[in-house]
Amino acid sequence: MAKTAAEWSAPPKFPATHYVDSRVYTDEAIFEEEKEKLFKPLWIIACHESELAAPYDYRLFSHPAGVPLIVIRGDDAKVRAFYNICPHRGNTILYDPAGNAKRLTCIFHQWSFDSRGNCVDISRAEQGYQERFCKEDAAMREVKCEVAHGGFVWVNLTDDCMSLREFIGGAMDILEPYMQQPMEVFHYHKARVRTNFKLWHDTNSEFYHDYLHYFNRITGMMQPGYFDRKYTGFPNGHATVGSMQIQYDKYEGSKERAVGWPGLQPGGWFMVDLFPGMTYNLRTSVMRIDVSVPLGPNEVLIEFRGLGLKADSEEERRQRVFDHNMIWGPFGRNLHEDLLGVHGQGRAMRHGTDSRWVLQGREENNTIHDEIGMRHYYAEWSRRMGRPAHHPA
């Protein structure tokens, strides 16, 4: 029987850990608090080292907490990150999303900085500032930056943050054996979707939605081993998904991914979901990395990267690109379906729709259709936000 208003609003018949109040996806105040409590103090992937191959190569990154960053490889080959904000009049220093710059010069008044964040020139400094202000007073704001876990560049805006090692803990152990060879980004695109960033992470944290994907049903769900894949939770809200052997040749037009990945079993597939909005996804021949950059409570910009091995031959790379595009490219079978899914959630949950609860109640011994991945995430969310996700007001 369909529900009345009172029944619709009543808490679900699950333990409070097994559902979420929809307001965590729509409330403006909660979103602003998330930027302070989730994104500012935690480590976020800004880019990959292959995007900064040479000294002075730089890459811009819009940090999820709202801060524009420059990530640059210095003259000493070290990768550093700075605010892309001129300390003079608050202007943008670099505009192009990537490039090579020995000097970072603000076009406004030509103040200039080196790749280590030092101010190296102030136009007509002595005439204007005499002895009161000099280059040493005008350095760029540097943020913590490390290259780790497959050559990704991690940044943290908080001076006294926990170390990246402590933040990740053992969550990447499942993937580290497969990231011993240098990787290279061959694909990058963004998707701007009217939905909450956590809903994208939820999609990456549960496989019950494989019913959405014809490709996954044919090559995975209907194959042996699918229901043996297990979730494992780690401290700080991270979770991993174990592998199976995907039968790619079961989908017409697809075939066994012969190019494979060093050390990975044929057809293997591991995932690591990192709090608060990043996912490593090694699917047989391609590594995909998602980084969510929330723009508001109901809008997110997702950065998608596809990576192969730096040592790839031309033919190997061509095959990896093909494999990537088959399901994960902007015209790929699965990505469009996943994005449609969260777009639909965004429509149904936007402010004022009277969406009330999101259920995360499936328990299947932590296997692939168990919703433990999401429950694990919201336990950490509740801890960091100081309020339970089932009752956030």
């Binding site: 490039g99 061959f186 695109h189 998707a191 979707v193 990505l335 449609l340």
Partner: protein
């Protein structure tokens, strides 16, 4: 130099290819394509400073793609391809054709239309007398932000 009647036939080929795909008439689209047809969507990323391929199929691959798409969950909003043939240059027994492309998407609910993507068709055409065929199409996209995307090639 391409004769004017040949150019007219080539322009019609480009426009008919848009009409066929707009109508999701894949059979009609493939009828405009040569047996050795190859279709590619490519774009340049200023972010990673690389040329990227987003879709690449031979004729058989396109046939399979068109067969598979109805099995998937897709955005049902229709898209409209607007092409303008810019240049037609004779090359061997065929022609190289460059056309401007704009793709518009119209929402099913309410019918609002928005610009979805811009780019260019770089077509290689086989001149089959009065019935030229597409031997190769490279869709070079300028637009890279496609929201939740689309399943049907441009």
């Amino acid at each position: 130099m391409v004769k004017s009647e040949q150019r007219q036939a080539i322009e019609e080929l480009v426009y008919r290819s848009c009409l066929a795909l707009d109508a999701r008439d894949y059979k009609a689209f493939l009828a405009l394509c040569d047996e050795d047809f190859r279709y590619t969507i490519a774009t340049y990323s200023p972010e990673i400073r690389r040329e990227m391929v987003w879709l690449d199929h031979d004729r058989k691959g396109m046939e399979t793609l068109f067969t598979n798409l109805p099995r998937h969950n897709s955005d049902h909003s229709p898209i409209t391809r607007h092409a303008t043939v810019y240049t037609v240059e004779a090359k061997g027994a065929g022609a190289e054709v460059v056309s401007a492309l704009q793709v518009f998407r119209t929402q099913l609910d309410g019918g609002a239309t928005e610009l979805f993507a811009v780019g260019r068709f770089h077509d290689t055409v086989k001149l089959n007398g009065a019935h030229p065929k597409l031997a190769k199409r490279v869709v070079k996209l300028d637009t890279r932000l496609l929201g939740y995307g689309y399943h049907i090639p441009f």
